[in-house]
Structure formats: structure tokens, C-alpha cells
Symmetry: C3
Subunit: 674 residues, 3 copies
């Protein structure tokens, strides 16, 4: 299933009329229609209302809402409401709530509050999804199912403990295999019975939330939790499918969110959708990367932008307004990277409770006479005019960056060599270097075959700390056959159980990279060194410095400082088969990465554009045309030197080559026919 089947750019978002008296509903219909909003995401948090007790379902209000939306020609994304438990359930069946990292069983509160392994929760959750599908699955304008909401979190209750042991048995068969995998002889942790295994929280093997006595155990608990919650998703999905065979089913993801292995999740989802909430100081490149990741988890398929705020957030420390034009530019940035819907949280701003200061299309002022409403409506009209030709367009990337939740978890559980090492930050540093040159990038998993990798000129895998089975072989084969691979310090260190490859770093990548890393030095924050590329270009490096020996590779850069490892290799290149493998043994400052990416652009001749930091140029392709999004993400006027004549689908004007002036937050969407 694809976003194409929506047959329009869905433009709408979360809508909770059940929280309002009915007279408000009619006003909403008028205002939303005026803004060319064509979609409403409903029933996200109504469980307590539609199921007031164990045995009773009451869809009367939901019926009314759906009727009203239908009459007013809205497409509906229908949620299942299981993102927050009803209070009665928590009170009558205490098992349905979670036990936290501190070891405390919760009573009732918040959302994302269900124990994923509670049989009672699972029973009620899938029953509700089935009931909803039975009632509404046949409706034409129910165009998408939205299961639960922003899944995440952990539980450490006794039901989870029991399920974890079952999960372990399934994955390892024997306790011996578990002991082996987790290297439990360390600190005398050998298990003789399954009942001796407890979850890694404060009462067990955790050392705070970010560290663990037995990282293998903690990583497996992460996998188990991601799987457990995914099972909640598939429970409901399967229940829906009993009554509705063909409406796409999704749940809203959250970019680089740590808890869930979205590559694994996306396999179970018909469409990916996600919620984009950058802060005032989030780099533009980080938002772009998050979009690309959300496209990447589903193999490049366009996705739904399920939520963004029209202007203001409420839960960030400093909730600044989106500037005039900025919501529009951010919407097109999403689209540029693969979004085929533009949806908001939410259509009408809440009156009370924790999100009441979260912006909405219809604000507390309850009028269309607001800047936010006007900008939303203008975008609605514009998208309406854009038609559907962009739907399904793909991103043509020759560079891929690997992203992997197992690595994310494992690297951040590692005790040593430095507390500054954060997985997403490392990925983003490389992504940003390509982004600054407007080179298209795909985010990919680590388990692609050499054949799947072959479409890329270059595969970049920063901190590929954990090498799972097959990964090294695939990469080796990919490079041997002409591919190019770049990785960094803290790569090739451990297997899927977090056990180090013995015999010299970077373990199974050593031959491919042609280097042996003997030691890595952690620099404290106040210390940095320099590297020199080609005996001429000096750049700062910090945090970690590998001390390595060339085993076939040649040095691209050497440490020009660094005490006893001065003049040893810092960045290397290895000719391997028909391809090349690069190794970056230290954290290069942005200018160093720019230099490196510049060299690669020279080598591969990728499409790229020199722009100021604020401007991005992003391309999506249909069979017969390319669509270039030229976006000024910032508040200053910018210029771009443009080389491809085409048609701006927004201004409906032809665009010639030459200098383009870009007002603050300006967007051009230039169609270039192939």
C-alpha cells in the first residue's frame, strides 16, 4: 500500500470533538473547510469514552463525529484509542499499568501507560480494534487506521519478567546459550535457572538508565520491549484486518526515538507516519535527517507527516513561535524528504490539561482571524492547487548512511571510553556534512545485502560499533564489487551480544578497511588536537582518537598533534577489490567533514549545490519529471545559483537558470521534466 491511494495530499490532523460541546463542532466544520482542510485524525484518546466498562462499547458519539465529518467531505484517519488506558481498567485490573525503572508499579496517569505484556491489556486492546473495524472499516472515507499513539517506554513488571524469559528461550533455546551470549561468568553472574533472570532496572543489573552491568542483558531487554510493544501493534492490526482487508494501517513514529527498532516496526506497517517536533534550535539538517530516516525505515517509500504544530509547542523548554512562513517552509521540507501528507496536532486547541498551550489550527481565540489560521488556510489552498503529481515520488540518493537501533542501544550502554559519545549525534554529524552540500542521502539499515547496497556509490556507517551476523560479509562483498564504504572510530567492536571481537579492532572490518586500531584515546572536553589532510589542510579533532596501523590502507590524514601518536594515521583509504573503504579514526570538526565530503563529491560527481547554511535543495523523482524543493529554512533573505530551468508549481511561473532570490522561509517547487 502506498500514499498514492489517498488520491490527494491529506491536509488535516488530530481532531478531538469529543472533548467539546456539539455547538463547537459545527463551527469547526466551517473553519476547517475554509482552510481547505480535507482530513481529520480522530478517536486518538477516547478509549474511556467508547468503552465505559468491561462489557460495554458506546460508539454513539463517534458515530456522530464520523457522520459530521463525512457530510463535510473529510477524509478520516481513524485511531484505535489505545494510547491511553481508561481509568476504570487501571483501577479494576492493576496489572494493565506499568512498573517503572525504579521498580514502582503505577496506579493510573499519563498516557503510553499500558504494560505491553499484560494479557488483560492485550485482550481489551485487540478487542477494541476489532470492534472499531467492524463498525467503521467499510467506510470509504476512513482512509487510514492509526493504531495507538506514539508508542514507547518500558515496563519492568512481573508479567514482563515472565514474558522476557519466554522471549529469551525462543531466541537462545538454552540457558547455556544465554550465559554465553551475555558473558555472565563476568562478575559471577552465571544463571542456572530461568527464574534467576530479572529485568535490568534499578533493582537489577542497571547502573543508572544509561549503563548496565551486563549490556547484553540490557540490549536484549530493549529488543524484547520493542518486540513486546510491536506485538501490541500487530495484535490490533490483525484484529482490524479481520474486518477491513485493505485500508492502510499505520502508527505514528517519532524519528530517532530510541525505544523502538523502527526498521523492524516498519515491516509490519502498511505506511510509515511520523510526528515532527523540532525545537527552536534544532539544526535544519537534523529535521531533514529525521524525515530521511522515516522514509528509510520503509525502504524509501513516501510517508505521512502525521503531526506537526502549526506554530507553537508546549512541552519544550522555550516554546517559540514559528515565524510567518516557517510552518509552510517546514511543511515543504517534510514533503521534499518524502512526506505525502501534511497533518497537524491539532485542529482545535485544547481547553485544559497538559497540552493546552500546544498550538492548533483553531486557537483558543476561536476564530479564523489569526496569523496561524491564515497561514494554514493559505497552505491548504496551495496544496489543493498542487494536485497529486508529487504523490509517490521517490528520492534518488547515491549515498546511504546506516542507522541501526541495536547499535544505538549498544553503543550508549557501553561503559567507556567517553561519556560524550552519543549515537544519533555521530550519525547526524555525517548526515549534516552531506546536507550542507545538498547531496541526497538515504538512511538504511545495516542488514542490506551487497546487491541492495550496490545502488549506492557510497555507504557511510558512523560508529558501526556492533556488527551483526552477515553485515561484515555484505559490506565486504559490496566493496569488492566496486562499492565504497566509510566508517569511523568505535566500529567493528562487538557482535550482536555485545561481546568484543578478539584479535584486533575493527574486528570483522579490519581486512576491508586495511587498518588495525591498537588503542583509542579519550580526550577530555577541554582538549582537542589537529589532523592534516594531504599535508596541507588542518582541521580540529576531539573526543576520541584512534591509534592505528596501516595494513594495506593509506593515510588520507594524520594527526598533526596528539603527543605520542602525532604523525600517525587519522583518516585512511583502502583500495579493496574494485572499491574503496575509508576509515575516520577521530571526531572531525565540521570543517574537516566538509573537506572529506568535498573530496568524495569530486570523486563521484554527485549532484550537489552550494548554498548558504539556511537553504536546502532537495529532489524527488517521478518517472517523467524531477521535483526540486528549494527551501529557505531561515529568516534571512538568501540567494541561490540555479542551473535547471523548469516550472515553479507553487508560483505557477517558469523558472530560468541563474540567481534565485529567496525571501525568508521562501519555497520553490520546481518541476524539471526529464
Amino acid at each position: 500500500m502506498t500514499t498514492k491511494q489517498f488520491k490527494r495530499i491529506l491536509f488535516g490532523g488530530d481532531y478531538n470533538p469529543e472533548q467539546w460541546p456539539k455547538e463547537v463542532w459545527y463551527k469547526d466544520m466551517q473553519l476547517l473547510t475554509k482552510a481547505d482542510i480535507n482530513e481529520a485524525t480522530i478517536n486518538v484518546f477516547s478509549w474511556a469514552q467508547i468503552q465505559p466498562s468491561e462489557e460495554r462499547y458506546d460508539f454513539s458519539t463517534l458515530d456522530e463525529i464520523i457522520n459530521l465529518l463525512t457530510e463535510n467531505h473529510f477524509q478520516i484517519v481513524l485511531a484505535t484509542s489505545t494510547g491511553a488506558l481508561p481509568a476504570w481498567m487501571a483501577n479494576r485490573y492493576p496489572d494493565v499499568t506499568r512498573t517503572d525503572f525504579e521498580g514502582r508499579h503505577h496506579r493510573f496517569g499519563g498516557r503510553h501507560n499500558a504494560c505491553p505484556n499484560s494479557p488483560i491489556f492485550r485482550y481489551f486492546g485487540q478487542k477494541l480494534a476489532g470492534e472499531l473495524a467492524k463498525h467503521y472499516g467499510h467506510l470509504d472515507n476512513v482512509v487510514c487506521w492509526h493504531i495507538s499513539n506514539e508508542y514507547g517506554g518500558q515496563c519492568y513488571c512481573d508479567n514482563c519478567v515472565a514474558a522476557f524469559r519466554v522471549w529469551l528461550k525462543k531466541h537462545y533455546q538454552t540457558l547455556d546459550a544465554v550465559n554465553q551470549a551475555w558473558n555472565t561468568h563476568f562478575w559471577g553472574h552465571t544463571f542456572y535457572e530461568w527464574e534467576e533472570i530479572f529485568p535490568p532496572n534499578d533493582l537489577g543489573d542497571a547502573i543508572g538508565e544509561d549503563n548496565s552491568t551486563i549490556a547484553g542483558l540490557s540490549i536484549d531487554y530493549r529488543r524484547f520491549m520493542s518486540d513486546s510493544i510491536l506485538q501490541n501493534f500487530t495484535d490490533e492490526r490483525d484484529a482490524i484486518r479481520q474486518f477491513d482487508a485493505d485500508t492502510p494501517i499505520t502508527t505514528n513514529l517519532m524519528g530517532t526515538f530510541k525505544d523502538l527498532d523502527y526498521f523492524k516496526w516498519a515491516k509490519e506497517m502498511d505506511l510509515v507516519s511520523w510526528d515532527n517536533y523540532p525545537s527552536y534550535n534544532t539544526p535544519y539538517s537534523f529535521t531533514a535527517m529525521s524525515h530521511d530516516l522515516m522514509r528509510g525505515v520503509k525502504g524509501g517509500a513516501p510517508f505521512m507527516l502525521m503531526e506537526q504544530t502549526p506554530s507553537q509547542q508546549n512541552w519544550q523548554p522555550y516554546n517559540s513561535l514559528k515565524r510567518p512562513g516557517q510552518m509552510r517552509s517546514m511543511s515543504y521540507q517534510a514533503m521534499a524528504h518524502g512526506a505525502d501528507t501534511i497533518q497537524f496536532f491539532q485542529l482545535r486547541q485544547s481547553r485544559g490539561a497538559t497540552e493546552k498551550f500546544h498550538g492548533a489550527v483553531i486557537s483558543h481565540a476561536d476564530t479564523d482571524n489569526t496569523r496561524v489560521f491564515r497561514e494554514t488556510a493559505a497552505l491548504g489552498h496551495e496544496l489543493n492547487g498542487l494536485g497529486t503529481e508529487i504523490l509517490g515520488a521517490r528520492t534518488p540518493a547515491k549515498v546511504a548512511i546506516m542507522f541501526d537501533w541495536d547499535n544505538y542501544w549498544a553503543l550508549e550502554y557501553a561503559s567507556g571510553p567517553t561519556v560524550q559519545l552519543k549515537y544519533v549525534d555521530q550519525i547526524h554529524q555525517y548526515y549534516a556534512a552531506f546536507y550542507r552540500q545538498n547531496v541526497a542521502v538515504d538512511l538504511i539499515p545495516t542488514d542490506l545485502s551487497a546487491k541492495e547496497l550496490a545502488k549506492y556509490d557510497l555507504v557511510v556507517a558512523p560508529v558501526l560499533y556492533m556488527i551483526k551476523d552477515g553485515v561484515a560479509a555484505n559490506l565486504t562483498s559490496y566493496v569488492k564489487n566496486g562499492g565504497h564504504f566509510l566508517t569511523t572510530f568505535m566500529s567493528g567492536l562487538v557482535d550482536r551480544n555485545d561481546n568484543v571481537f578478539i584479535g584486533g579492532y575493527p574486528g570483522p572490518l579490519r581486512e576491508l578497511l586495511g587498518v588495525w586500531v591498537e588503542e583509542f584515546d579519550a580526550l577530555p572536553p577541554e582538549k582537542h588536537y589537529q589532523v592534516t589532510f594531504n599535508d596541507q589542510a588542518d582541521f580540529t579533532c576531539d573526543m576520541l582518537c584512534d591509534i592505528m596501523h596501516l595494513e594495506g590502507a593509506k593515510a588520507l590524514a594524520k594527526y598533526s598533534q596528539g603527543e605520542f601518536y602525532q604523525n600517525t594515521p587519522a583518516v585512511t583509504e583502502n583500495d579493496f577489490g574494485q572499491g574503496q573503504a575509508f576509515y575516520v579514526g577521530t571526531q572531525l570538526a565540521a570543517k574537516g567533514l566538509d573537506y572529506l565530503v568535498g573530496q568524495l563529491i569530486d570523486q563521484f560527481g554527485w549532484e550537489h549545490y552550494a548554498t548558504s547554511e539556511a537553504v536546502e535543495i532537495t529532489r524527488r523523482d517521478q518517472a517523467d519529471a524531477s521535483y526540486y524543493f528549494i527551501i529557505n529554512n531561515g529568516g534571512n533573505t538568501e540567494q541561490v545559483n540555479w542551473t535547471k530551468a523548469g516550472q515553479d508549481l507553487l508560483s505557477k511561473q517558469a523558472v530560468a537558470t541563474g540567481t534565485l532570490a529567496l525571501d525568508p522561509y521562501a519555497v520553490k517547487l520546481i518541476k524539471v521534466t526529464k
Copy 2:
């Protein structure tokens, strides 16, 4: 009842002879008498001693102490000792201790440790108060009852849960009303039975201690806790009144302490008393404001300064000494703002346990040969010489600032727009601007009638976030009849249940203020803008910037920076009826507030004095005379230009008009006959 009935300036403080062998008592009597100390506050923490078991009271030691004090002509403030549970009670009746925010029931420790809704604690507490009143209520020199000590804190135990549900039933009658009030349909929180409601701690709807899924619930729990603890107070008060009809009853408050709604408390107290513990870096204006608040909670009545330290604190991070003369100047600062007693914690310094490094009149040196003792004694003599003419004098303020615990709680539970927003800080910014000009200010509650407000030229209500029933009408009527009202950003947003007024900010104040606030922008800490008053005076603003439309008001100041809202109104004035309403839409730096207050002084002609930052001039009035306290709060020599001839009651010298030189920490108390 008033402080006048003490017939002297009580000068003394906490005294715990039961912690010492008797030979020490006699030495104390000599030393304290030498310092002209005329009062002792006793029995504050003796519960374990005077009630060694469920059935036995033993007042023998207390009898001895009271006899000794009486023989030595001391007035007695008699505490009830219920500020700390006896260990035997906690051990035998575990319900009497508290369950904390983390969900843990405590065993025994600290003080302020009783669950306010424990029936066992309530039973024993009021029984003890009654027994004490029966024994000592008839004594002439027991001039005041002091119930418990520094009440505060929270409990989340099952007794409190049960009591909370009863409290809710009383306030809301039906669960529907609760669901409505708390907007529980948000995140599907709808309650169908009272038993589904749990307190907002870590196991419930809290999001940390400062945030909440359902702010309405958290605010109500604050109200409930304040009421529950107040009930502990009235339990004991009523028990005392059965045996003692006319001795004033108080408990010691703590200024801007967040936990208790002191306006509600003061209604139940005969006299207000409070404990003043500024840090080395507390602004003088903050201490002044705290005094004014303590006067304000009881409608302007003079109060007792129940505790201050003679010199050093122990529980602050850096416990610096009060400089020579500073204890005296701070005592007179208290008096200037309404204190009619000067009391210390404590008369003799503890030997052991957590407060042993807290200063006292008689220090560990156990002698009168200390600076602290000499300064105390000198003040004792001076106060003795001052007589009683100041007792009961009132503060003549034409400006009032509203302070409200519901707003305090609600504003600080709000998620968004910025984590920097703190209630007391906002109040203090305005207070300090008037203080810098030595303009007298009353701190008042929000529920005064238009008639009660009419005595003020100007009512200032910073961040009047929550508008409870009647408040807007009172303010509107007050202004219509010639009053002047000033409020700020984050005002008029929510009703008493924290639900937003729909239809445009500032809600019920919109017409009065003549502005519509469409948006508010949160600036991160590194960002600030400028506003310009009258096209000429530029001042910095930061944190929050309202974007507003004039609806009858005129702009007093506009943003001269601020990107898209540059040149829009930042500060406005609205002529309304016979009065005016001002709105300050951003956080002005001190100089901006000074400019604004300067304009108001010009407009209203209030009595004011230009002094350096360290000097304050404060007035109290009796029928026939005004008393001016001219205080140098700082360590440098200062000058004041003085315009009212009178008599300095401290130096006993006539004071002519002209320049007055003020030594460090100097005080003049000038009587000007009317």
C-alpha cells in the same frame, strides 16, 4: 485580636530548656534578662517528652520551665509541640507518617512528618492541644498559642486518597462535574467511579514535581492539602478554645512558601506570625515584600516576627554572618513593614542534631561576651526604650499588588510556554520597582470587592493567569469607578479549574484592558528584544513577548525589535470608565519597570523617595503620628535627602530636614506628628 494586647514589643524567641540540664536554665535566665529579653517561645518540639505513650501525659518538666520563666518575668508563647511526631507513635501507628511523592511510606524521621489526614494523628494532636490549654491556658503570661511549627509538605497515602475523594465530592458533588472541571476527556482520563481517582504523585498523573497531565487535578490536590493541614491547625485551635477563650492563637508562616494558601489560613488565625530567613544574596526588596505579604494575608494587621536568626543560618548553602548592625537593621525592617514583635530562633544554640550550627542569642560559647549577644542586648534595651507607641500602627499604601496561591500553583504547573516563568519572581519584579522608589505597597488577595479595592489608586496583578469567579467583575467595576489596574502577559488565561477561556486572551479581562493577545512568543535565554516607550525610551525585554491587537487601548510602548512583531504594541493603556487599565505584554528589564513606575508616580503623586538601592524609607501610621523607618540595609555609608522634620525615637534626637548621613546598617525611626 491584635498585637496591641501584648502591651510590649515582645523580644525573645524559641527556647528549648528541656534539651538541657537544669543548671543551664539558671544561667539562661541571667543572660536573657541581661539582654532585656522579655519573651520565650517554648514547647515547640516536646511531644515525645510530654506524652511518653498513648495514655500518659507528663507536664512536670514543662511546669518547671514555665514556673522559672514566670518567676523571671517572661512572657510565654506556648507551642503545642505537634510539629514533629513522637517515635513511639510512628512505630505503633504507622499510618501517622507520610507517603511521599515517590510513593514511599515513611517510617520515622525529620519533622513536619505527620499525615494530615491520619485520624490517629488528628486524634492525638487535638487531644494534646486541649490538655495543654487545660493546664496552661489560664496563665497570665501565656500571651499567645503557637500551634505546631512551620506547617507544610504533602502526603499521598491511602488515608489522604480517601479524604481527597471526600473533599472532591464536597466541592463538585458529582463525578461529571469533576470530569468537566479537569477536562478529563483529554487523553481519555474520564472517571466513572470515585475510586479511580488517585493523587498526582509519581505513581499517578504527575510529570515530575512541577508538571502534571491534569493540572486541574494537581491544583485541586494542592488546595486539598492546604485545607487538610489547615484542618490540623483548626483541630488544635478549637481544642484550645475549649479551655482558653481569649489568648491569641497563631502558627508561624513562611512568607512566599508555596504549599499553603496563607490568605485562607490567616482567616483562621488570630494573629499572623512568620519566620524570616533571607540568604546572603536575597534582595532587600524580597525580604520587604515577604513582610508585606505576611501583613497582607491578614488584611494589613501588624504581625509577629516569630523567628529570625541573630546572625548565622545553618541550612543555606553559604551561611554568612550578619554584619555588625545588620541584625538590628533587619529587625527594624521587619517592624517597618508591620512586625510588632522581634523574636529569634533561638535563645540558646543547640548542642547536637541538624541545627546545631544555627545561630542563637546564647551561642555555644555560653557567654554574654560575644558580638551577637551584645548586639541582641543592645537591641533589647533600645526596644525597651521605644515603648509601645508603634504597636498596631498601620501601613498607608495607595498601591496594591495581588498575590494568589491558586495562581502560584496553576502557573507553575502549566506546561509551556517557557520553563523560566516563576510566579513569585514575577510578583517580585513589580514589587521591587515600587520598592526602589520607596512607594508603599500592600499585598492583597484577588478576591477583594470593587469597594475594598477602591482605597487603592492602583492595583497591580502580574501574571494573573487564573481568573477565579468574580475577580474580573470586581476589577472591571473597580476601574469603571475610577480605579487603575495593571496586569501583564500570562494573565486572564484560565478559570479556577485551569481551563482556558475560549475566545481570545486575556479572556475576561479583554474588554477592561482593551487588547487582544493573539500569540505569545517564548524567547530562549540567549535572546532578548527591545521595547520603546513614547518613541524615545528603549528598554530590554525577554522571556515572553505577547503579540497583541489594540481594541480601544493605546500603545505606551512598542517592540523596537522582535522580527515580525516589531512595531506592534508591547505595553498598553486603556481608558475605561473613570479609570485606566494597563497591560505589560513582555518581561521588562528593571530599568523599563522603573520608567513605567516613574510615569505612574508622576500621574498619581504618591509619596516616594529617591534613595540608593540599599536604603529604604517605610512608613507606619498611628492616628496622630506617622513613623518613618529610614534604613540602610547595606554595608556602605549612604545619604538621604530628608524632607520631614521630626523626632528620631532611637537616638532620641530631633531630626531636621536636609541631608541625613546613614552609617552602614543605620536605622532612623522618625516620628512625625500629624
Copy 3:
């Protein structure tokens, strides 16, 4: 027993072959032998393996390991494995795990995880030690027993509560005595039954981990915990002694580690051993002090350096590499201060779990071709060549600094006067001043007799806050008979129960010091003053300033700033009997301490050397020779002016007087025959 009986410099460390397949063992033997490693510390974390259930012991693997080591001529330090519980024990007997400060009983995880008062743990622990001794105690190459590992931590479970009450009865006999000792009448804490006493954790009288309502209780709980865990040690020691009468028994200590009173512990240990893990920014003087403390707890006896890392740590925030030569220089620094063994954690680097990035002699590269291996082997050869003449050599110090765990605990529980006051930091400031002049220092307990003290020219006792019984008398007698004593602010304040001495600070030291401290002023961090020595030398002081009166002493320095205490004494000297007593009433900056120490060197003529900060010169003595360790601790080339001709035992060359050049991390070990 002494380190002499090892008859060699043990050179080896922790070795865990049971965590590896056997083929690895044989490689290890080859590599370790190549590095002249002669010792292995084994069986540190094998409890789960050697006792797989309640009734079964399985020493087969351990037998094999010992056989292999024996065949390869290794000396063995044999651990008892009780540093980490087996999972089966935690699961079947939940009492064996700990209840934490938060009040939570733990399931299973980590290490140091046994409740010291669990009868089940105690039973199994001592049974295991006995079994091991029975099996292995007769072996010639088992040269030392190593009980458990890095003992520490606290437990607050019900078994501990019960044991604490027993401990209290033993120490105080009556509850009255407890109430008296803890001054429980404060805040009405009087106990009437033993069952009312609870441990001072979050559910009791703790105020966070660093503060307490009743410091006397918290200090006693610290004593009780140290004693409880010591009892675990003596349990096992006594069990071993039933089967092995003469092999030395130790456990590895941790320098200034707070939890355990190592002076008390050392009395029960045959030899002291310890683990030295400085961070990249630990001052050289701090490491030196830690060594001296470990020598001091056993009255000056040489000790074992049980653990250090060959290069990299893993659990520090920034785990930088030891520079080439630095592991060697740090090994000799240990030896210079009394170490007679050089041992590593560990011989082979772990594959998995939390310490896998902790360095080892054989790294993950699994080869001798690493810098770390080469440096280790070089040191092994060098030590081999050094022979045994250094074994047992003593440190000839004329200066002693008192260190005391009761003071450590008590001072840091004190509420006030400043949160900046940390015990070890205060000790180190004085230690560092002597270290900078290369003056030898002993760390001694506070309970030495005047006769024992008499060997020192000067006894320094920074922040001698708590004066236990006899201490003041001993010091007074020591000075009266010609000794010299120096102490500082925050001294002489409380007795062993943390109750203040009434009558004037510094209490029982007042006569000896000839001063009365009336007040102490805490300066906030942004504030500092100056003191002037002899009207000429000005130095900064901060944090705390005593205000004192001379009572026989004369002022060596006065405050030249300090507002009202300007020109009052800051540092004093009192001639007392045939000796002198010095008092330093404020925190002097390093230059001030250097000046003071310089004056003392002039007065006493101690052996000292002017060196750069990085260089230390340290002496150990045998009967017929002195051994001078000249160590460049830093990475720069240094020079030293050397005045004693001798023989460098490392280079095997004669050393003449004159300028010695020192390469980075260079070491000279010069034997000067007496």
C-alpha cells in the same frame, strides 16, 4: 606478616581464565611469562561457578587453573569470590541482597551486592572461604588470600535494622544513653523502645545522602556498616585460618574511600593492599597521598598495589590512555610510597559486560605486539632485575597528617556552615603543600598516644572537627613535651557523638592553641579575602573565615580584608610547654600554604627538595641504605638539582650530584648507602 615474605616483587594481577575457553589459557601462559609476570590473582568473581547450588561445590575448573599456573611458576593470590553473589542465592534467599538508601530491596545485579547482616550470606560466605582454604591453603605458591573484593556500600534492610539495634545496645547499653548521645530531645526524637529506631535512609532521618536530622544516628550507622562489613571479612578470615595458619590474608582497599574505617580494618588484615585508579586530571599529590594513607592505615608497613590499569580505564567519564612511560612512572610512584607489589587489573581484557573496555596486559588484540604489552614486559624485566632489596623498606617522615573516618563522616553530615567543605579536599590541601616541597609525610589516625606522636616534629590535623576521647589529651601532652601541632578552622567542635563542646571553640583544643574562635563566616564562592603574614606577604583566603581572639597565641597572619574582622588574627602560633601549636583559621590558597610550609621547613630543617610541580622525590629506607625515587610524573622534560651521590638501580649507573635531566615520565631509583 609482611610483604617481605613474598621474596620477590609480585608482578601480575587479576586473571579470570574461567571466563575463557581453555585454548586461551595456554596462550596466556606464554604471553604472561614473556612479560616476566610472576603472579596471578584468581577466583575473584567465581562464586556462581564454584558453588552451583546450596550443597554443591565444584573446584574442578579452579583446580585446573591452579595447576596450570603452578606449572608455569606463578605465585597465586587466591580470592574467595564473595564479592558478588550467585544469582541462585539471590533468587532462593532474597534476604541476601541489599535494601538501598531509597528503601528498595534489590533482586539481583551488579556486585558488592550482599547484605552484610544477612545470616544466610554470612553462613555461605564463611563456608566457602573455609572450603577454599581446605583445598588450597597448603599450596606453596598460594602466597596470599584475597577476601571478597573492594568492600563497600550500605544496606538498610530489616536484618540490618535488627543488627543495628544490637550494635547500639552493645555500644550504649541503655536507650537513655542513646538519647543522650544523639541529642534526641531535639525535634522531639526521644526513643522509648529500641524498636523505634530506624536506619537513616530516605524513609527515616536522612536529608538526602549527605545530610541527616540526627547526625549522631547517621554517623553511628556509618560505623555500624563499616563494622558489619568488616565482620564479613573476619568471618572469612577466621574460616581460612582454620585450615591455613600462616598465609597472609588481605582484601583490596580503595584509598580515601568513604564507606569503611580503614584504620579499624587494617588491624584485622595481615597486609594492606589497594587499587589505584586516578583519573586523567587527578593531581599527582592526590595519588601520592592515597598511597601514604594506605601505608598509614597499617602503621607504615609496605603494602600491595593490588590493582592499577596498564593504560586505560573504562568507568571514568573520559578514559584517556596512559602515555608511553606513564604506567611505569606510576608503578614506581606507588613503590616510592610503600608498595612492594605491582599488580594490574587485569591480565587479559574481558570480552563482554561492563568492564570490557578496561585495559589489560593482553588486550582484545590478543597479541604481544602492542604498546601496552611491551611496556608491561619491559617493567617486568626491570623489576626482575631490581631484586628484593627494596622489600620492606620504610618511609622516614617527620611530619604526620591526621586522617580519620569518623571525622570524614561527621564533617560531611554537618548542616552548615558551607556546602563547599569536603573532608578529603581539606586533608589534601595540606598534604599537597608538603608534597610540593618533597617533604615526607605519614598519614596517621587521631588516636595515637603522645609517645607515638613524639617521633614527629609536626602533627597536622586539618578540620579536626570531632575530638574523640583522649585525642585532646594526647595532643596536649605531645606538644607540652616538645611536639608541634597544626590545625585549622572547623576543629575542636564536637565529641564522638557529634555534640558540640560548650564553652567556646575550638573546645578541648582551646588552651593548647591559645585562641578562642567566636564566629566563623562562610564566604559564598564568588567572594574571597586576603590575609597578610608578618605584615608583608599577602595571600588569598576563602570559603570560611574564623573570627578569633588571642588567648596566649600570637598572630602569624591577619585578615587584610574581611570587613569587620579586618586586622584580626587569621593564623596563629601558641608556645605551649616545650612545643608549639598553630591554628589556621581560614582556607588559604596554595601559595599561602606554601609560604606557611616554607616557614616550617626553615624552622625544622626537614629534608626537602625544590622541584617543578611534576617531579617528586621520595625516600624509602632500609637499615643500611636510603632509596630515592626521583620521578617525573609529567609529559615534559624536567631538571632536578641533585645533591646525593649514589647508584641508579634502574639504569645500573652511578649518579653524581648536580643537575639531573628527566625525560617525560622518567624514573631514577638512587640507592644511597648510609
